[in-house]
């Protein structure tokens, strides 16, 4: 093992990944499974057809407590948090004063607290940001004793119901405190693959038991970060640090749906002036789906040109979509070229590759709507 590898953190499921024959890679400071012996393609397809189990324990789980954490959190994010009913969750964004995105996150109303799931690479800075900006108003606790798994796919609900019968009736983007083979878990009906499924938060001491129980079900395979990435890309979902970052606003990132009417009108979140101006007057560039012609994938940082060879943007995520059966990508283009079906030229390894602006998701989302 190299020096760099020894410095990597591990999740409570690390030994299980190694036992399952995973290929481990450094990711956001953790030694994580990128794929198992099945391979990325089959792992991807298995998740779309049956159910896949993902270790996402590297992500940050944060609890906010205080007098009114929802109102306080709204000073940092543009989402409707005060309107979130108990047991419901939503996707929102930490913004900076320029309207740039510091991280994307899930917020759940846990009744007497808010429960946040943030990106692994951002969790330390997110906690520091929360503590600095919300000092004296809320308690911010990074829940290092918890593990997090995702069970995703069309058969996830059927599998989960064998352990947690009440999980079957959960609505999309809701949460439930439950017992899984006698240990406490928090289930949310959510995920980041475009499929129906759950995220399972539990004590790290219980994680391996839960993972083994789920993997023992015939429908479930362990799925690595490689397939997680191709699944979320096909689903048209942003990867922080790639498709969105501190230089992109929610409007440029085509994330207007995270800006509800009340917040658009009232403001009160960082970067409001810029975002309000972009909402009313338009932004100069936009994140779009991109469909290359043929079978050659176009990767992140591929230059996008117009018909005259002018640089109009760059790909931020790209690869081969196993379910789409074709290359798929996302990137930013000048607003004049953002309309659906606009022809684009991608410069792949110095050669022009024809492409067009395409609708996302590339594969229909199958969230459980009840």
């Amino acid at each position: 093992m190299t020096e760099a590898a020894t410095a990597l953190k591990t999740t409570p499921l690390h030994a299980l990944h190694v036992e399952l024959g995973a290929r481990m890679v450094p990711f956001a400071g953790y030694d994580m499974p990128v794929q198992y012996p099945l391979g990325i393609l089959k792992e991807h397809q298995h998740t779309r057809e049956k159910a896949g189990l993902f270790d996402v324990s590297h992500m940050g789980q944060v609890r906010l407590t205080g007098a009114d954490p929802a109102a306080v959190l709204e000073t940092l994010v543009p989402g409707d948090i005060t309107g979130l009913a108990q047991g419901r969750m939503r996707y929102t964004l930490f913004l900076n004063e320029q309207g740039g995105i510091l991280d994307d996150l899930m917020v759940t109303n846990g009744g007497d607290h808010l429960f946040l799931v943030v990106n692994a690479a951002c969790k330390e800075q997110d906690v520091a940001h929360l503590r600095e900006k919300l000092a004296g108003k809320v308690e911010v606790e990074l829940l290092d004793d918890l593990a997090l798994m995702a069970l995703q796919g069309p058969l996830a609900a059927e599998v989960m119901a064998r352990f947690v019968p009440e999980a079957a009736g959960m609505k999309f983007m809701s949460c439930l405190s439950a017992s899984f083979k006698g240990v406490p878990v928090i289930l949310t009906r959510s995920g980041y693959t475009g499929e129906d499924g759950y995220e399972i938060s539990c004590d790290k001491a219980d994680a391996e038991m839960i993972a083994r129980a789920l993997l023992a079900e015939a429908e479930v395979e362990a799925i690595g970060l490689g397939a997680r990435d191709s699944l979320r890309l096909e689903a048209g979902l942003c990867l922080y640090g790639h498709d969105i970052d501190t230089t992109t606003t929610p409007v440029e990132g085509a994330l207007e749906w995270t800006l509800p009417k009340r917040r658009r009108a009232e403001g009160g979140f960082p970067g409001y002036d810029i975002i309000h101006r972009q909402l009313t007057g338009g932004a100069t560039r936009r994140r779009v789906g991109i469909q290359p012609d043929g079978r050659q994938p176009a990767r992140e940082h591929t230059e996008i040109q117009d018909a005259n060879g002018n640089r109009i943007g760059e790909i931020t995520s790209g690869g081969f979509g196993p379910t789409a059966g074709a290359p798929v990508a996302m990137g930013y283009v000048d607003i004049a070229h953002a309309a659906l079906d606009t022809p684009l030229t991608l410069v792949v390894r110095g050669k022009p590759l024809p492409a067009r602006v395409a609708a996302t998701p590339f594969v229909p989302q199958r969230y459980y709507r009840g």
Partner: protein, 124 residues
């Protein structure tokens, strides 16, 4: 027929003055699921150690270098149509291209099978 290997994990099998080139089974296992290959066209002149083809897995693109110099005679169209052959038959049906050798002595600088095996084990 002589089969030789490069440190970049290509194999080259020589029959007279014609060399068949592909990537090794070890290379395909490291690449993962291959979804696209770009092969050189017949007539293209390749130089030893320079880029000759591109292989793209689900995750990444990789260059394939010419193990020896020469002129491309034929590219494996079956591989273009079904890139997964790199995974299923890297050192057989999944060959990349055939070239007319320019300088057979270049082969002397490449590894034989036992040396390549040792090289792979060492780099692992």
């Amino acid at each position: 027929m002589t089969k030789k290997f490069t440190k970049d994990h290509e194999w080259v099998q020589v029959d007279g003055d014609v060399a068949t080139v592909g990537v090794t089974d070890f290379a395909q296992s490291q690449l993962g699921d291959v979804v696209f290959v770009e092969l050189p066209e017949a007539g293209r002149v390749l130089e030893q150690g320079k880029e000759a083809a591109v292989v793209e897995s689900v995750k990444a693109a990789s260059d394939v270098y010419a193990p020896v110099s020469g002129t491309v005679i034929e590219a494996n169209q079956a591989l273009v149509d079904d890139p997964s052959m790199v995974n299923s038959a890297a050192e057989g049906e999944g060959w990349f291209f055939r070239i007319q050798l320019k300088n057979a002595s270049e082969l002397d600088g490449l590894m034989d099978e036992s040396a390549y095996k040792a090289f792979v084990e060492e780099s692992n």
